[in-house]
Amino acid sequence: MKIVREALAGTLESSDLLVRIAPLEDGLELVLKSEVIHQFGPHIEKVARDCLARLGVTQALVVIEDKGALDCVVAARVQTAVSRAVDEWTPDWSALS
């Protein structure tokens, strides 16, 4: 899926995360900041990258500000950000779970 505009999802509140996604020409860059980065950084990044891969997002700049969110919240926020950043969004729920 092609990211055509900058988009946001989520909040900075505890147990949530703010995801910012923007078009990028060369590849997928993911920047993660988390209060629990030492313990869970690699895991959160994997959840986010899996989500992006399943949505077929290969070119994007993704910046995540994590506030200790559960995996399912990370997935929901990444998917929402993508859905807001693409031209046409038809959810394939089986690919989102």
Partner: protein
């Protein structure tokens, strides 16, 4: 408690239309030692049981006037206010946000996804809401790096480009191995950026060792040149230009290996004059981890014993005195002024 936070009510208002709310905002900001900023048109307000307990303002893409009622302070309010403000800014088309903060609030805004760009030691820090903003800008600049013992930098607004600018750039280029020329991108001038940039590009043709750069938000922009913090703190004078100059010294100059900054002397404009004086302090003094950048002032070129300036050209344009404009600008500028900016004269007939 999480559920108490659910009782908060958020609103976005254009403050000019709501004098009553403006008064409430003034009161809340006052409690936090802040005052309302004239340029801030949009406010996010947060109410608890009808009472204003938090606010955040936006002047274009600069976040200002963030305040939480000291009696109601709680992490959940401030994080909600900032989250809401970030979404509102996005809806208004502003994704890249800047803010000025005092050193004691850096950690709060760091928790809101803001990252420091530059710090005026002990006074103020400019932050942006992306961890890779200034970094990727510096990286993109570094790709245009050219080696040389003396690497120069010039920033011009060129409003519009004159023979004075041409002279300045020629002189500077003659004094160094490579010269990086930047055109101010902020559209706050009489001539729009696109026209100013094109005139510079055409006007500097033939000057050797020159690299022309588009401007950016990190250079003489609304964000870097904000008077916001200083007015508020009554710190006037030296600090006004510090943020802009320190970004140049700590990010832009190192990326391109710039050793010297060239600047024209400015007999007419006090702001520019002040800027030049400050430049020596913030670029050369021993106050930053980044190496100093030598400031070189170049005397203005003159026409008929009067220094050439862009403001004079604009004055002549308003008077439709193209005969005299022709003496002050290169042919490319003259042509654009004549075709696009000339006010049709009222015919006597």
């Amino acid at each position: 408690m999480a559920e108490d936070c659910e009782e908060l009510v958020f609103d976005t208002i254009e403050v000019a239309f709501f004098p009553r709310i403006r008064n409430e905002l003034v009161e809340l900001l006052g409690k936090c030692g802040l005052s309302i900023e004239e340029g801030v048109d949009t406010f996010v307000t947060c109410r608890f049981e009808g009472r204003l307990v938090g606010c955040a303002g936006l002047e274009a893409n600069i976040v200002k006037c963030v305040a939480i009622d000291p009696l109601a302070r709680g992490e959940c309010i401030s994080l909600k206010v900032v989250s809401e403000m970030i979404h509102v800014a996005h809806d208004l088309g502003h994704d890249h946000l800047f803010l000025y903060t005092r050193p004691n609030n850096i950690s709060f805004f760091a928790g809101c996804g803001f990252y420091p760009i530059v710090e005026v030691p002990g006074l103020v820090t400019l932050m942006e809401n992306t961890p890779i903003g200034i970094r990727s800008y510096s990286r993109s600049l570094a790709r245009l790096r050219r080696d040389g013992a003396t690497v120069g930098g010039i920033v011009i607004n060129a409003n519009p480009f004159t023979l004075g600018h041409r002279y300045l750039v020629e002189q500077a280029a003659a004094g160094c191995d490579v010269l990086h020329l930047f055109v101010v991108a902020e559209d706050a001038s009489y001539f729009p950026y696109r026209d100013r940039f094109d005139l510079v590009r055409e006007g500097v043709e033939g000057i050797p060792n020159l690299v022309l750069h588009p401007g950016s938000e990190y250079m003489i922009s609304r964000a870097t040149f904000s008077s916001y913090f200083f007015k508020e703190k009554n710190v006037v004078g030296d600090c006004f230009t510090a943020v802009d100059l320190l970004i140049f010294r700590e990010h832009i100059a190192p990326a391109l290996g710039i050793t010297h900054r060239f600047v024209g002397t400015e007999p007419f404009c006090r702001t520019t004059n002040k800027y030049n004086a400050d430049m020596k302090y913030w670029l050369q003094a021993d106050l930053s981890g980044a190496p100093p950048v030598q400031v070189v002032e170049i005397e203005r070129t003159e026409y008929g014993a009067v220094p050439i300036s862009a403001s004079e050209v604009r004055r002549l344009l308003a008077a439709d005195d193209f005969d005299r404009i022709a003496n002050l600008v290169p042919p490319t500028t003259l042509q654009l002024l004549a075709t696009k900016y000339r006010t049709p004269r009222v015919s006597a007939a």
